[in-house]
Symmetry: C2
Subunit: 200 residues, 2 copies
């Protein structure tokens, strides 16, 4: 019964899967080691045998949560034909937070950005990189759309990319805080408007 992946690797994965939602919901400071042991059924000794400290677990969980969203969205984008449709994927993916499967606790970029503002530089660096990568992917799609003649030449790629991200994340914040998924959908209508408004 020799397995490809080691026991340690399987445990690491179990810890990440069982606790990613907790960190994303309660934040770094709000998540305790007993939260981790309760969720996994493991002991502190086991967790610290697989991770150096609590921060390393949080970092792995952030990567896990982020990848979950990114792979789902990138899949939809790869299936879309035009650059316009690729950008419009976001209005579908985030619709009522049900277009793709989200991590428990919502968007890890929003949560971690606000949570790790100070106190945790490693987490802050990672969320900054995630936002910049997202921005770059959007800019590439917008520039592609300009070159393909879908968008007018006077479209501002960076401003549009940043505005789409801000609308989505701000919309998520409003929807969660006011318990109104439909508020997010209204904001996504503006996302759609901004994308379609660049039509040449």
């Amino acid at each position: 019964m020799k397995n490809e992946i080691s026991k340690a690797e399987r445990t690491r994965q179990l810890i990440i899967e069982k606790t990613a939602g907790i960190f994303n919901t309660k934040g770094y400071a709000g998540t305790s080691l007993s939260d981790l042991t309760d969720a996994t059924g493991l002991t502190k000794g086991s967790i610290y045998g697989n991770f150096e400290n609590k921060e390393e677990v949080a970092l792995a969980c952030f990567d896990y949560n982020l990848a979950k969203i990114n792979t789902a969205v990138q899949q939809l984008i790869s299936e879309a034909g035009s650059f316009t449709d690729k950008l419009l994927v976001y209005t579908r993916a985030y619709h009522s937070m049900t277009g793709i499967e989200f991590p428990e606790g919502g968007c890890p970029i929003l949560n971690t950005a606000v949570d790790a503002d100070d106190t945790n530089n490693l987490l802050k660096d990672r969320v900054a990189k995630a936002i910049l990568a997202w921005k770059k992917r959007l800019i590439d799609l917008i520039k592609g759309g300009i070159e393909a003649g879908e968008f007018t030449a006077d479209t501002h790629p960076e401003q549009l990319a940043l505005s789409l991200i801000a609308l989505i994340e701000g919309g998520i914040m409003i929807a969660k805080a006011t318990n109104s998924p439909n508020s997010l959908n209204k904001v996504l209508k503006t996302v759609e408007f901004l994308i379609r408004h660049q039509k040449s």
Copy 2:
């Protein structure tokens, strides 16, 4: 030397002023009572003599931080003439987060909305009310602009109001997380575009 306001009231105010920035920066769970005693120079006994518990201090601090922003913005809005100019106040007030004086730690609505998602229902209720009140004020300005003939009749007040809030809060999140105040300014350009685009 008899004073109008009691000693207790002055101490309460001191505690709020000295700790409002800490709660707004480190979050509720991340702020400890020793943070409060360090910042105020008071002891735990004194703080608990003026507040029932840590949560009550956090609630008072949220109100304080929120009022600071709201009064400054409302002042600028009252000085503006047209409904268009009143709405455009936001692009000035939030420009590089320097148009008005912000609480230490940034926007309390964004911070508290994400921080108090779970674990703290009183804080969550308060931030929900703050967002809904903000939305209502924006809707009133937009409807006023429609009635005054500044905006076209097919403007959607709620969608526009929610989108402006989402852009501002999302823009703040991006700017802080990536250490780039200019990203917020680019997002505010879209805020301006959306407002001016409703011109009839």
